[in-house]
Each structure stands twice: as C-alpha cells, then as structure tokens.
C-alpha cells in the first residue's frame, strides 16, 4: 500500500475553498491522504485483512511479515500473505432535494458531495465495493456497489443537482429492498422530517444488517438563525411563504432545531446507528476525523 505525501496546508482546508476545486477525485485524495497521514493507527489500516497463504521469502520482503513459527518448525523462511477484506459494500445515499441547495458560503449539496467523494475514496482505498444513490422524492441516480465504480460514483456525484422537493422515507424504503448484501450505508441529508419518520426509513436498512451512518448536513444559518430583517421566508421545496420577524422567533427556532438534533441523536443511539451533525462551516477533514474516531470508538464498544 503506497502512502501519498499530503499536500502542504491541505489539512483542515476550508470547505468553501475545496468546493471551488472541480475535480472531486483530487479533492477526495487531498482530504483523505492528508487525514491518513496524520492517523497511522486508523482502525481501517490493515485491520480488515485476514491470513491468505504462506510463500517463500525473497530478498526485499519485509522481515516483519515473516512467520517465525513456521521457520521454527521447518527451518525455512516463509512470508505470511494476508488477503484484504474487500467484500464489503460501501454505499452513499445522498439527498439531492431542493433544500440541499441552501447555503450561505457553500451549498449544503456541495459540502455533501465532497463528503461523499471523500468517504467513497476512503472506502475504495480499503478495497470496498463503492456505490452511490442520489434521491429526492424518488431515486435520481443509482450506482450499484462495485470495486470498479469509483469513477462512476465520482462522475455521478459531479452531475448531481438539487432541483426537486425531497422526501426521505419513500426512496429509502425502496432502496432497502435492493441492499441485499450487508455493508456500510452512509446517508447524507439535512433530515427535514420528523425523527420518527427518519428512523422508520433508515431502520429498515439497519434491520437488514447494514452498518448505517447518518450525516446531518446543516448550514450555520439553519442552526443559528442569524437573520435580522423582517422578511418573507420561502420554503425552497414547497414554495410556501411566511412573513417572519426573525428577532421575535430566533430563540424559539433554535430551541426547536436543537430539540430536533437531540431527538435524532437519541433515536440513532437507540438503533445503534451512527449519527453525526455536520456544520458546513466546519472543515471537511475535521468532520471525517470525527467520523473515523467515532467509528473506532463504536467498534470497541460493539
């Protein structure tokens, strides 16, 4: 396994800057390589390989991989060959509903696309089969998991646009039937639905034995509600308008959003689903680092 040199200063790059880089693969490599460079003890690194066979030592082999017990019995040098566990399916379910187009500095969808690319790249490095599903109120694009689909996934991600209103439950329920093989499913969405509806849908994925990871992508304005001027607020998906005086409503709004996040966190914990809130103002690799740390922590506890 080759280790790329990280691009100096690429670590914790502002997502808005990353978004301006058109090549998703390069972005993913930039972020992931930089991340791995700093986290040698990542549980993904070599943890998922099993013993395959012994072969004779040839000069140049890493003596650390020599099987000393076989040498003790046979007095010959044998090298232990490990077979990487590349049978796992890694799929990203990306919400491309209209609400994902919102964002003050970076659109939530761009952030989510970068995140999806990074995760896919990461998984592909692990020899996982990678796939992608984009959905709004229905399924928009479907790339089945495959070890060769990295490019297709990135290309599909690149084409994804937020154009139609979304609905979380219906498409995920349909997808649950397609994920016959157990794998890792990452759902990236802004989760504008009641927590019960969200987990009714993703629960189906979890019940089929998949490892489900939820990335809740929100813009800072969605969290802080930092608007000042009284205005008409238009729902991006339904087109409904409401006259709003933000100063009068901000506190109540924030408490409702906090309650929503807490409810999602609580339900995720109950169903052994990884949940992570991502603020688009935060650097992407920081988010990935938090995610990998959480996965490691969860791996120990499970």
């Amino acid at each position: 396994m080759s280790v790329h040199q990280p691009i100096p200063g690429a670590r914790f790059v502002d997502p808005a800057v990353l978004a301006r880089i058109g090549n998703l693969e390069m972005v993913a490599k930039t972020v992931v390589d930089g991340l791995i460079n700093g986290t040698h003890r990542s549980p993904f690194f070599g943890a998922s390989v099993d013993f395959a066979e012994h072969r004779g030592y040839v000069p140049g082999d890493d003596i650390r991989r020599m099987d000393w017990r076989v040498y003790a019995r046979t007095d010959k040098y044998y090298i232990k060959e490990f077979e990487a566990d590349s049978n796992s399916n890694f799929s990203v379910l990306l919400d491309v509903s209209k609400s994902m187009s919102f964002g003050e500095k970076i659109a939530k969808l761009d952030y989510a696309k970068t995140l999806a690319a990074c995760l896919t790249y990461l998984a592909n490095q692990q020899r996982d089969r990678v796939g992608l599903v984009t959905f709004d109120e229905g399924i928009v694009d479907h790339v089945p998991p495959s070890a060769k689909h990295m490019d297709v996934v990135l290309h599909t991600l690149d084409r994804a646009k937020a154009e139609r209103p979304g609905h979380l439950v219906a498409p995920i329920k349909r997808l649950a039937e397609h994920f016959g093989r157990r794998g890792i499913i990452v759902v990236i969405s802004d989760f504008y639905a009641e927590p019960s509806e969200v987990f009714d849908a993703v629960g189906l994925l979890r019940f089929r034995g998949n490892d489900v990871v939820l990335f809740h992508v929100l813009d800072p304005q969605e969290i802080d509600f930092s608007f000042v001027e009284p205005s008409s607020f238009e729902d991006l998906e339904s087109g409904d308008q409401m006259p709003i005086v933000p100063a009068a409503l901000a506190d109540q709004y924030r408490s409702l959003v906090t309650a929503h996040i807490e409810a999602l966190t609580a339900r995720a914990s109950q169903q052994q689903i990884d949940y992570m809130l991502l603020n688009t103002s935060q650097p992407l690799d920081y988010a990935l680092f938090r995610f990998l740390s959480m996965r490691e922590r969860m791996a120990h506890t499970r």
Binding site: S99, M100, F102, K108, D190, Y192, D219, E222, F227, E229, P230, S231, S232, F233, E234, D235, L236, E237, S238, D240, Q241, M242, P243, I244, V245, A248, L249, Q252, Y253, L256, V257, H260
Partner: protein
C-alpha cells in the same frame, strides 16, 4: 359640520390601504429562500403577527394625509347657524310648558312651575324669553321678552287644563317664534311629563337650524291612579212603560297595586242615584253596572264618579270632583259625564191627494217601524200645507200630489229652512209653472212601460248616503222592482241623479236648497205604478231617504274635549222641526265653567250646520237665542282617556324627531344661503387639501430617513 358632497367620505375606506401596506408589503418586499419552514410553522402564528407595524409615525402620517384629502373632496362647510352656535351670544329661549290634565296629578304641576321658573332664571339679561302653554292646542302666553319676572308670573298664573298632551302644535309655535328671532342662539325648553301618547313623529316638523332643545322631565307623584272608561248605555223599552236605560261604567287601574272597594257613584241631574263599589286588580280593569233607571222626558245630565259624594252643584257645573273626595291624585279622569236623551221621533208629514187615502199605506207602515230614528208620521191634505202644518215636520212626503202655488211657496220656505222634501211623481203630480227651476228636475210626460218589459232601477249612486247601505253585495237588490210607468225627468244642472232607470232616464234626483234638500222620485211610492213597496229593499230605502232628508244624525251621549259638536244635527236629533232649527236666531252657549257666549248663525251661508268646539270638561248647554221654546241641547264633554296613561317616552326621542337625529334642520330663517354658496365662501377644502399635501411631503422625508437607517 356639513358636507357638500358627503359621498366622497366613502373614500375614507382607503385608509385601510396604508394599514395593509404596513402589515403586508414590508415583509413581501424581501423574500428569503429557506430550506424548510418546518420549524417556523410550529411557532405560534400570533408571535409572528404582533410586531408587524413598526413605523407608527409613518403610518399615522399616511392615514392623516389620506383622511384630510378625502375630507377635502367631501367639501365640508359650517352652516351659518352652526357658526353662530359656536360663537355664542344672546339666546332666544322658548319655554314650552305642558298644561295637560295629567300635569295635575298630585304636586306635578307645582314642580313643573318650579322647573320652568328655574329654566327662565337661567337666562341672562341679554336673552329673550317666550312662554308657550300647551295641551291639545298651544297658545303663546308671553312673546319674546327680556323681562323674566313677567314670564315667571305667567307660569305661576297658569293651571293645568282638561286637554291632552300634543307636542306638535307647541313645537310648531316655538319654531315660528324662533324663526322670527334675530338672536344668534336659539333654545327650546320643554317642561312636561313626556307622556308617550302626546308625541306623533312628524317629518314636516323642524325647528330652525342650530336650535337646542332641552327637555325638562317633570316626574309625576307616585300613588294610585284610577280612570273611568266611557260608560255604555243600554236602552230598553217595554210596552206601555217609559224608556229605561242601564248604565255600565268601567274603571282602569294604571298602577300595579290593586285598588279595593273603590266607590263608584251614578249621578243624574246633580242627584246621586246609586253608589256601588268595586275592586280593580293592578294594571287591570273592572266594570260596574248600575240598576236601570227611567229616562225623563227631557235630556238628563248624568255623571259617573269615582269617589265619595260630591256637594250638589259642583258636579253640575264643572263635573270635577274636589280633590279631597277623589280616590287618587288625578281628579279629572275620575269623572265621566254623559247625557241621556229620550229618543225623540222625527216628525214626518205625508201629504195625500185626498181621494186616495190608502195610497200611503206602505209608506206610513214602513216609517212606523224602527227606533233610530223613530219616525212620527202624520197625514195632511195638500191644502193644509198652505197653513202652518209644514212647520211641525222635518220631512214632507208628497206622493203624487198636484202642488198649488200657495203650497209651493210654503214648501220653498220649508226646504230652505232646513226641511226635507220627497216628491213621488204619479199621473197627478204637478208643480206651478214658473217655479220649476227650483226643483231638482223638470217633470215630463208619463212613460208607459206596461207593454213589453217593465222598467228597472239601475245605475244607483252607491257613494251617496241614500244608497250607501246597499253598496255591499247581497245588501239589497233594487233590480227586482218593476216600474210600469214613470214620469220622464230632466235633471237640473245643480242636481244630482242618484238612480236611473234601465233606459238611462233619471229615477231619483236630489238637490240641496238652502239648508234643506229635495228629492224627486220619478214614480209613485205606492203600488199604482210600480211594485217597489213589495220588495225587501223598500223598508231600508225609505228609512235611508227619511234619515237623509230630515238631516237626522245619531247623537253620541258624550264627546271628548277637543271634538266639535254639530249643533244643528243635535237639534234635529232632539226633535226640532225645521222652523225651530232655522237660522233665524243665534244660539247661546253656556259652558261648564258658567261662561255664557253667543254663537252667531251665518244665515247667508249654505252650510247646513253650526259647530261648537268643546274645550272644558262638563256639560255644555245650547239654547236658541231669544226663544225658550226650542229644544235645549246638552252636550257632555270628557277628558281624553289616553292622557291618563302614565307611560312616558324618552325625551331624546322627541329631540331626535324634531332635530332629525342631531342634524339640525335647515328650515329656519337663518340658513338663507344655499349650501353651495356657504361652502364656496368658506373654502375649507382648500386648507384640508394643503394640509394633506404637507403631510404627504413630511411622510416622504420620514420614509426616506427610515429607509436609510434600515440599510
């Protein structure tokens, strides 16, 4: 403040526009796309709505500007009277003091005098005061004087009368007094107990513009309030017995407290005949019936009285009981006066040709039947008419009589003096040559209808008094009578054809001559030329003719104060002959108060009656001047029962009715300039428009500053 084009005020509805703009437009001008309103929709809507209007000053400026511009388009102006009222100055005060008999209840009158005195005392030396006393009618007791002491003296001298309350005449009188005044401020002070019955809304009643009406309510005393309702008389006549009458009196209790053992006494000609007592429930009524009494030959003055015995003489003259003996504090409605008149017959003289004594059998028998009136028939020969016989009758019937010259002269005098003449024409009937113009129609030759179909009556004038009872369907069929012969008639120009034959020729023609009437019937009134006498309509027809020609009118046993007594009709009902009621002497009227006055009879007038307005409670007596032989007419006058009803109206109702709901009328003499001219002279609209534009400029400046501050 008045408006020349008040419809423009509808533009004030445009005031809603700035409010709507402030409420809606502000939020709409910037639209923020937001991923989802999921959480915002959960927040109660009220908290979103409450703080919408932020720029109150801006909104107030816009509203004020708009209101001023709309008001300018409505062209406001002040009427002259309004300017005068606003400016102040001397007042023309008219005090209307109610002196209806209800004001005599307890100490109401003394309180009314005190309140009226206080109202006058409020006048300044520059003010002028008029005093109008009113009940049914209004009279000016004092006309526009600055001397307040005189007005107070007049008030102290006044006393409640027997009349009922009517505000209309008093307010009209006040209006005319104010219209003549040159003082800038006008005020009417109405001192009354404000009985509801006294006010009838009248659209034509308007006081001069700017007049202030001040109602002063005089609260009545509390206590029992009983009133007598009109007594009913039931006449009975047994054979060989004098006529008897049964009097039934009713008592109303106007208060909620029941009245027990209320004495009710019947007096006749000043003597107490019977005294009974009765109980009356609260807000209820009861009646009492006295034992029948015989009717005297002359008119009897009768009185039903609530309360104890009254000294003789007082009742006869005034009919009012002293307060000490009354059952309540209002004495006038405790007395009810009426007259019991023996039913006098109407004297009728039927003139026969002499040879046919039985010719008038049907007529005399028909006239002998009936009570109202009773006809007293006598038969005379035509020769006897030349003497004094005609003077003893009210009605002469000539049935197929040839009238000689001398008799004709007598008949003319008889009719012009008020008598009635019915001429039934047969083959012998004739009238002196040269006097035919006096008759309603000229007699022609007999028309023989014995061959072929007999003639029938048709074309009756059902609007006339003779045929009015037959107007309704199945109320008498004249067409069944067959006329075999009749005299052709040519009606005079001033005569009225009351009925015609089916050929169109006149059958019954009437003419009023002097005070009397003549009716010519083209056929006989017996069976010789027709069979009308055998038909059912004959009896009522003859009675109607007799009643009409004799001028008989049934006289009421009492009248209400304010009503008019028809003296002539009363004399006829009292049995006067035509000569007795002739206009040869004046009538002397003796009022209940003892006042005597003469009524001049206008002999040259064609009017057939003379009238007397009753103004006092009690009995009026009317005699023919200089002759005691004529019948004495006695008329009973009573107060209006409605006046004893204590129900009050809201004085504001009266004020609104006169001033048109606060907007003073413009019928006064002050508002002589038309509205357009007054508005043109004042040009208030110009100032309003200018102020509106200034406010709009200020609004623009303020709006720009606010806009900059927001950015």
């Amino acid at each position: 403040m008045s408006f020349l084009t008040p419809l423009f005020l509808l533009g004030l509805a445009a005031l809603a526009i700035p409010v709507l703009v402030h409420l809606t437009q502000r939020e709409r001008k910037s639209v923020i796309a937001f991923p989802s309103l999921m959480f915002l929709k959960k927040i109660p809507y009220e908290s979103v709505q409450k703080r919408r209007i932020r720029d109150w000053l801006l909104l107030a400026l816009r509203l004020a500007a708009l209101a001023l511009i709309v008001a300018a388009f409505a062209r406001p102006f002040l009427r002259g009277s309004e300017i005068a009222a606003a400016a102040g100055g001397a007042r023309e005060i008219v005090v209307l003091l109610d002196r209806s008999y209800s004001m005599g209840y307890g100490d109401t009158w003394s309180r009314a005098q005190r309140l009226a005195g206080e109202a006058i005392a409020s006048a300044t030396p520059a003010d002028r005061v008029s005093l109008v006393l009113f009940a049914d009618n209004a009279e000016v007791a004092l006309r526009s004087t600055p001397e307040r002491s005189r007005a107070v003296a007049e008030i102290n001298a006044a006393a409640p009368g027997p009349g009922g309350t009517k505000y209309g005449p008093a307010l009209k009188l006040a209006g005319s007094a104010l219209a003549e005044s040159l003082l800038p401020r006008k005020e009417v002070i109405v001192v009354s107990d404000f009985q509801r019955g006294g006010w009838q809304p009248d659209d034509t009643l308007r006081l001069p513009g700017g007049t202030v009406i001040t109602p002063v309510l005089v609260e009545g005393a509390s206590g029992p309030s009983l009133a007598l309702t009109p007594a009913t008389l039931l006449r009975t006549r047994d054979a060989g017995q004098p006529e008897r009458v049964t009097v039934t009196a009713g008592v109303l209790n106007r208060t909620a407290a029941p009245a027990t053992k209320v004495p009710v006494q019947l007096e006749m000609d000043g003597r107490i005949v019977q005294t009974l007592s009765l109980d009356v429930a609260g807000n209820g009524s009861a009646s009492v019936t006295f034992a029948p009494v015989s009717i005297a030959a002359t008119t009897t003055r009768a009185t039903v009285r609530l309360g104890l015995e009254t000294p003789k003489g007082v009742a006869v003259q005034t009919g009012i009981a002293p307060a000490s003996s009354a059952v309540d504090a209002l004495a006038r409605d405790n007395v009810f006066n009426f007259v019991i008149t023996p039913s006098a017959p109407v004297p009728v003289t039927v003139v026969t040709p002499g040879t046919r004594g039985d010719a008038n059998l049907y007529l005399t028998r028909a006239l002998a039947i009936g009570e109202a009136p009773r006809f007293e028939t006598s038969l005379q020969s035509v020769e006897a008419l030349a003497g004094d016989a005609a003077n003893r009758a009210r009605l002469l019937v000539l049935n197929d009589v040839a009238v000689p010259e001398a008799t004709a002269v007598k008949l003319v005098t008889f009719v012009e003096g008020g008598g009635g003449l019915l001429m039934a024409l047969g083959p012998r009937a004739s009238w002196p040559q040269g006097r035919e113009a006096w008759l309603p129609a000229t007699m022609g030759a007999p028309v023989d209808r014995t061959r072929g179909a007999a003639a029938k009556l048709s074309g009756m004038d059902y609007g006339h008094a003779v045929f009015e009872p037959f107007r309704a369907p199945r109320s008498g069929d004249f067409s069944t009578a067959r006329f075999y012969s009749y005299r052709g008639l040519k009606a005079a120009k001033d005569a009225t054809v009351l009925a015609r034959f089916d050929t169109g020729e006149p059958a019954l023609v009437e003419k009023a001559i002097g005070l009397g009437r003549v009716v010519m019937f083209a056929s006989t009134i017996d069976l010789s030329w027709n069979d009308l006498a055998l038909k059912p309509v004959f009896l009522p027809f003859v009675h109607q003719l007799g009643r009409h020609l004799s001028g008989f009118r049934e006289q009421p046993s009492y009248l209400t104060i304010g009503e008019v007594l028809d003296i002539t009709a009363a004399e006829v009902a009292a049995g006067a002959t035509s000569s007795a009621s002739r206009s040869e002497g004046n009538r002397t009227v003796l009022a209940p108060s003892g006042q005597r006055r003469d009524l001049a009879m206008n002999s040259g007038s064609s009017a057939s009656s003379v009238a007397l307005e009753l103004l006092e409670q009690g009995f009026y007596e009317i005699r023919v001047g200089g002759r005691e032989a004529g019948p004495v007419i006695v008329a009973a006058a009573n107060v209006n029962l409605a006046e004893s009803n204590p129900e009050r109206m809201d004085p504001k109702e009266l004020v609104a009715g006169v001033t048109g709901g606060g907007a003073a009328g413009s019928t006064g003499g002050q508002d002589v300039l038309p509205d357009e001219a007054q508005e043109l002279a004042q040009r208030v609209w110009w100032y309003l428009l200018f102020a509106g534009i200034l406010l709009l400029i200020a609004e623009t400046v303020l709006a720009q500053r606010l806009s900059r501050a927001t950015r």
